[in-house]
């Protein structure tokens, strides 16, 4: 039977990576010398499963590598070896190494085994330090034996096999008939059953085996093959195998008796002939599966049963509503029915919304998936920096969309590194300042409205506003004379090309600035802000939508085109009072609204549409905010507000400036979703010179 093993690869990768996460977090929990059995067992099981799976699916370099880990862990688990911190470090490195190996397999890339080989050698060195080293060697040794033993003899020999099972044979679950049939597969078989031992009918116990057998087998498979048939019952029966004759072959038979059947033999022998074939079969399949995996980040998602159940409930209700509506639709519509129909439709709308929410919940995972990587990161980074840090994780069960989660991880790593590197002081500095030696970094996640909020707090020195201001003046971001509040100054760290670190450090100064962090978060329709107090600490607050798949949108028209503006970025919509409009040159109009000057962007101009309303007082102005910058978009009219499902425009086309995606409206038409940040950029780019200056001067005025 041919079974395409590649269909299991994705599950294997997923569970192995999860296993590695478990290993990592448990390893971080370990204290050498004070060993918790369950912890070490959990670590062992993770390694064990990865080894078993990788062996089965043909990833030999992974299983070979995991084998040494497993051996060491087994010894620690059995108590025959003391766990040292060196072990923990090596094991942690192995986790990284395995992650890389699995990642490469998943993406169908060649793995660089240098690191693995070095680590493996270190493990082997540890293992060979004691007599237990035989344990490490034995598998390879056995394999050898097995391969030698499997050689066919090519000559026909006749054996007499006497099989006298003990009475309890059945209770081991073995069935003599199957053994005999298996024996018969080896060659020509004659069976003689010996019934003498069957007791008197009154003394018979149906549970027991009383029959013994003598077999005469003509086979070219050798004695070991016969032994293998009886492998599982050798302790439960008396088995004598005698060679009684046969034709001369190339191999003297005596050699075989020297080889005791070993465990690996059964696997080696059962498919001795097909072994090489099977291996060849696996690799192209592996490639195929891996390349499939490479095209998308991760293709499957685990969903808890209760989410699925609630979904089924929801569908049940929907079906009931539908049945009710169908019934109402039959026959004539009376006034009474009309009422019921409206109620039914309201019910349907309710059901649909619930269903939508439930479906969305399927994509939601607890943020602990992201948080879990931080204990390790904090441990490694703080060691490197010589700082003492305690990491607190709060709200780990807060759920957010899987895609958002995948994308928020990197910015968070950057922020945490930043807190460790620039935020927290050294233990000496902290003591001087009268603070506890050990600094604290807290990650906190919670839901607020339709958003998830993630806070990254440290109790370090806080942002140095003076330094930031100096730097900003140096870089020309602000003017010497500008009056800025502390918060406004702190905001400057998110400006492109800003870095306060005096020296570019290994930890956070990798040329990736806070501006990149902000941009990444904004690309998720989120925002980030910072609050800081000198000497007390800083808090970075990230706000993200719960999902990227659905958006509350405001439909607007420009000429005959319908666009969607994300509701979250709309501040207000108004009719323009021409008296409040100034022209600042370059054709740019600004609206004075209360204390602010708001540049007016004509959507039809930016998108090059003709036939739109061009007079400011005839159209409507939608004030939107992005990047703490407000602009007004001139549109012809506002239509409904509705939730829209976001579809990718890039999937089949390419990125379009000023457009973040598309959706399909109720009538089946495609409508484009406006990307405010992109639009502002587009407007700025399109009008060079004076206009750009105008916006900038406004910006600094705002700031």
């Amino acid at each position: 039977m041919s079974i395409d093993l590649s269909q299991f690869f994705e599950v294997f990768f997923e569970e192995s990576l999860e296993g590695l996460d478990v290993m990592e977090s448990e390893l971080l929990n370990l204290t050498p010398g004070d060993l918790d059995n369950e912890t070490i067992n959990t670590i062992f099981r993770a390694a064990h499963s990865i080894k078993g799976g990788s062996g089965t699916f043909g990833f030999t370099h992974v299983s070979d590598f995991t084998h040494v880990l497993e051996t060491l862990l087994d010894q620690i688990r059995e108590g025959s070896r003391e766990l040292t911190s060196e072990h923990v470090n090596l094991l942690l490195q192995s986790v990284d190494c395995l992650r890389e190996m699995l990642g490469d397999l998943q993406n169908n890339q060649e793995t660089d085994l240098t690191n693995a080989t070095q680590l493996k050698e270190k493990f082997e060195l540890i293992l060979s330090g004691e007599e237990q080293s035989s344990n490490v060697q034995s598998p390879a040794g056995q394999q050898q034996v097995a391969i030698e033993a499997q050689t066919d003899h090519g000559a026909l020999d006749t054996y007499e096999v006497v099989f006298k099972p003990q009475h309890h044979l059945f209770k081991t679950g073995n069935e003599p008939i199957y053994l005999i049939e298996e024996l018969a597969e080896l060659g020509e078989l004659d069976v003689v059953a010996n019934l003498e031992l069957i007791p008197d009918i009154h003394n018979i116990s149906a549970d027991e085996c009383y029959v013994t057998w003598t077999f005469y087998l003509e086979t070219d498979k050798g004695e070991d093959a016969i032994k293998e048939v009886f492998e599982w019952v050798e302790d439960d029966a008396e088995i004598t195998i005698t060679l009684c004759g046969g034709l001369f072959g190339d191999d003297p038979v005596e050699e075989n008796t020297a080889n005791e059947p070993s465990a690996s033999e059964s696997s080696a022998q059962t498919t001795a002939a097909s072994k090489n074939e099977t291996k060849n079969d696996v690799s192209p399949a592996a490639n195929k599966a891996a390349s499939k995996a490479a095209s998308t980040e991760s293709t499957s998602i685990r969903v808890s049963i209760d989410k699925v159940d609630s979904l089924i409930n929801m569908v049940g209700e929907l079906v009931i509503t539908q049945a009710m509506l169908t019934q109402l639709g039959e026959g004539e519509i009376t006034e009474n029915k009309m009422m019921a129909l409206q109620e039914g439709l309201a019910q349907l709308a309710h059901n649909t919304r619930d269903l939508q929410e439930s479906v969305m919940r399927i994509r939601m995972l607890p943020i602990s998936f992201v948080f879990s990587r931080f204990p390790r990161l904090v441990r490694d980074t703080s060691q490197k920096l010589g700082k003492e840090v305690e990491l607190k994780l709060l709200g780990e069960q807060t759920e957010l969309d899987k895609t958002v989660m995948e994308k928020i991880s990197d910015p968070m790593v950057h922020l945490v590194r930043n807190s460790l590197d620039h935020g927290l002081e050294t233990p000496e500095q902290r003591e001087e300042a009268g603070k506890p030696k050990v600094g604290t970094v807290t990650l906190n996640a919670f839901h607020q409205g339709g958003n998830i909020v993630i806070e990254i707090m440290d109790d370090g020195a806080g942002l140095n506003t003076q330094k930031i201001k100096q730097k900003a003046i140096q870089n020309g971001l602000i003017n010497e004379g500008d009056e800025l509040s502390d918060d406004e100054i702190n905001e400057l760290i998110f400006m492109p090309g800003f870095s306060t670190a005096d020296q570019v450090s290994d930890i956070s100064g990798r040329g990736v600035g806070m501006d990149v962090v902000r941009r990444n978060i904004q690309s998720l329709n989120g925002s980030i802000e910072v609050t800081s107090e000198q000497g007390i600490g800083s808090t970075f607050t990230i706000r993200l939508p719960l999902t990227l798949a659905i958006l509350d949108g405001q439909l607007v028209t420009v000429a005959q085109h319908t666009y969607i503006i994300p509701l979250i970025s709309i501040v207000e919509s108004l009719q323009i009072d021409l008296k409040m409009v100034n022209c600042v040159g370059g054709g740019l109009n600004v609206l004075r609204l209360r204390d602010e000057y708001i540049p007016i962007l004509r959507l039809h101009q930016i998108f090059n549409h003709s036939g739109a309303i061009e007079d400011l007082d005839k159209g409507l102005l939608v004030i939107v905010e992005s990047d703490n910058q407000k602009v007004g978009l001139l549109v012809d009219d506002l239509l409904a507000q509705q939730q829209v499902v976001i579809k990718s425009l890039e999937a089949n086309y390419q990125k379009v400036e000023g457009v973040s995606g598309a959706t399909i409206l109720g009538d089946g038409r495609v409508s484009l979703i406006i990307d405010i940040t992109g639009l502002i950029k587009l407007a700025g780019l399109k009008k060079a010179g004076s206009t750009e200056l105008a916006i900038e001067s406004l910006e600094s005025e705002e700031a």
Partner: protein
């Protein structure tokens, strides 16, 4: 159709074992650890049990011992999945009442060849 209970904490191994056996015409029920398997086994009957050894909550050896003690599983073939480094586990499993063992790693053909020894 003969029924087999397949127990493994690793989803990929469980799927592979289950898929292979189903393709060979067996009715397969999967369980993710010994305790889940024991509960299932008490509720219905199986013609054979295949179990991994190292599992959380309840390991394979305990599972086999518990099952063997049940009247319904007195004669049921029970196979354990072991790695070559778990040789001593073999003896332990045998003492607990295991019928035989299957060495990890194995491929589907090897699995079926071994299964054939106890159930057809």
């Amino acid at each position: 159709m003969k029924k087999i209970l397949a127990v493994d904490d690793s989803a990929s191994m469980r799927q592979m074992v289950g898929f292979t056996l189903k393709k060979a015409g067996f009715d397969v029920t999967e369980a993710k650890d010994g305790s889940e398997a024991l509960e299932i086994a008490k509720g219905e009957s199986f013609d054979a049990v295949i179990s991994d050894v190292n599992m959380p909550v309840m390991d394979g050896i305990t599972l086999i011992r518990e099952l063997r003690a049940l009247p319904a599983y007195k004669f049921t073939p029970m196979l354990m999945l072991t790695t070559e480094s778990g040789l001593d586990k073999k003896t332990e499993g045998k003492a607990a009442g295991a019928t035989g063992w299957i060495v990890k790693p194995f491929n589907p053909d090897q699995l079926l060849a071994v299964i054939k020894k106890v159930i057809r």
